[in-house]
Amino acid sequence: MAETLSGIGVSPGVAAGPVAHMAAPPVVPTDATPAGDPETENQAALAAMKSVAATLGERATRAPGEAASVLAAQAMMAEDPTLASKVSDAVQAGKAAVTAVAEAFEEFRGMLAAAGPYMAERVTDLDDLRNRTVATLLGVPMPGVPDPGHPFVLVALDLAPADTATLDADRVRAIITEEGGPTSHTAILAKSLGIPAVVTVRGATAIAEGETVLVDGSDGSVLVAPDEATVQEALAAQEAKEAALQSVSGPGRTADDHPVQLLVNIAGDRDLDAAAAADSEGVGLFRTEFLFLDRPNAPTLEEQQAVYQRVFDAFPGRKVVVRTLDAGADKPLEFVTMPDEPNPALGVRGLRTSRRHPELLEQQLTAVAGAASASQATVWVMAPMVSTKAEAASFAEQVHGYGLPTAGVMIEVPAAAVRAHHVAAACDFTSIGTNDLSQYTYAADRMAGELADLLDAWQPALLELVRLTAEAGKALGKPVGVCGEAASDPLLALVFVGLGVTSLSMAPVSVPGVRAALAAHTLAECRGLATLALEAEDGRTARTTVRAATRS
């Protein structure tokens, strides 16, 4: 008997396949005793580490670029001679192999963790290695992304960035997580790989291994044990839908020809070709943090300018909105972040960083201006985490001073949205970052999966702030964009347009769906949907009401 589970669809598409669970990390038994003499135990421990190293080394040869070097470095750790000698010492002293391995890893873990946040990723790698070695010794399933030898639907509590390095889009047909949220790593990764995904699915981890599920990443439904006819029907409908999406192209327009700019989000100069190849009017959010992360010093002017140049040159004749450095909170930088901020999400982050380090912003603007003057792209610049009109005015004045004519600010702080008519008057455009705006509006940490209902971008209070911002832009004749994950939801995109938003920026994979939704609705219809959403009592009701209205 088929059973339907539901969650939040975060990456569109329909797929079916057998479930493979991500195994939980193995637990080291506290009462482990040596199975044989110390020499036998030592051989067992060394063999386990060697086999883990071999697996990782083999995966490194198959993984692309960055992921390959992470895996190769991890394989080197598994073969570390000092680690091996610590394990040998412990088993000689009478400990079981599994205990010796766990303790040796723990010792290095402590040393790396003590080296500070810069080593955080290596600590994660080491933990993964420890879990793999322990699982091998105990003979329990390997933690991490499973490899059942055939395409599968991945079910997990949630995915960590480390789990995703080797996620193979050809094998993983869909992703279902019990926790996570619309802005979790799972969501962002699945969308960038184009894998259908549903998060916050209650009961997901209880689905039997190997059971067939039908996953709809658009409406968030998961059908357990569907019959074959239902699966075929859903896949055929999805194919027809995708064919329909491909039939619409060009700049975004409503059915009555009201233009809505469709743009893509990029977070670096990797995957630039794919982003540039997308049928869009340019880049609505170029995140620049990647240049500054995981390094002890700021990048040089030349280094920055070369990267900006590559990005601008990929979009000749199109718009590229550069967001200046957004450090702090979940993206700490070694050289600017205060180590002991009690509440980093409310601390010195975003544009506020320039209060303490004005030179970083000055250098970044110099590099952007240099690259812009040598390119054919239309370059706009915006600042993150602006709260007041004074901040917006001073940022715009500074940007104009570098010969960059278009300066805007992100609306992520409720104060800026409530006073949008003042903030927008002080600069050239605004762009709403829905992820942070919902976090601050609902006082709910965006990484807290169990608060996903509050972080839902359909929440009417968030939409109210979008409305205020859009109306301020309209009154002043200035563009208002949305560049959070929310813009990639075709239904919500209609609501945003109805509220008065003039551009939508999203992952390249989401553009066709949003373009097709716009083409099927008039501006007046979008306004009607926006009113329905604003009048709903909560996010869930807003979504279901708008969906019902578009189907009638």
């Binding site: 470095a73 080197m76 000092t82 040393m111 080296a115 810069y118 080593m119 290596r122 002890p296 010093n297």
Partner: protein, 90 residues
């Protein structure tokens, strides 16, 4: 014991890729080489975990030491490698 003192040339420090390149080069030497921070305990240069745990930043001085046949040449080779900015290469 023969020693070399050298400032870490990689701006990112002896982390990530530069650390891996250094450890691989050390493993190829015919003698055991140790590495230490100026005021710290020497560790096996073939141990990636020990090298990472040194947390040597760009510009920090480190001390290489080795003994036996080929020690001088091994130290010269590894010191030259450390002095380069390994992360900016290729």
């Amino acid at each position: 014991m023969p020693e070399r003192r050298v400032a870490v040339g990689s701006k990112v420090g002896l982390h990530a890729r530069p650390a891996a390149m250094f450890v691989q080069a050390a493993a190829k030497q015919p003698v055991k080489v140790t590495i230490a921070k100026a005021d710290g305990n020497p560790v096996d240069a073939r141990s990636i975990l020990s090298v990472l745990a040194l947390d040597a930043r760009g510009g920090d001085e480190v001390v290489l030491a080795a003994e036996g046949d080929g020690a001088e040449q091994a130290l010269d080779e590894l010191a030259a490698l450390l002095a380069r900015d390994l992360d900016s290469e290729g």
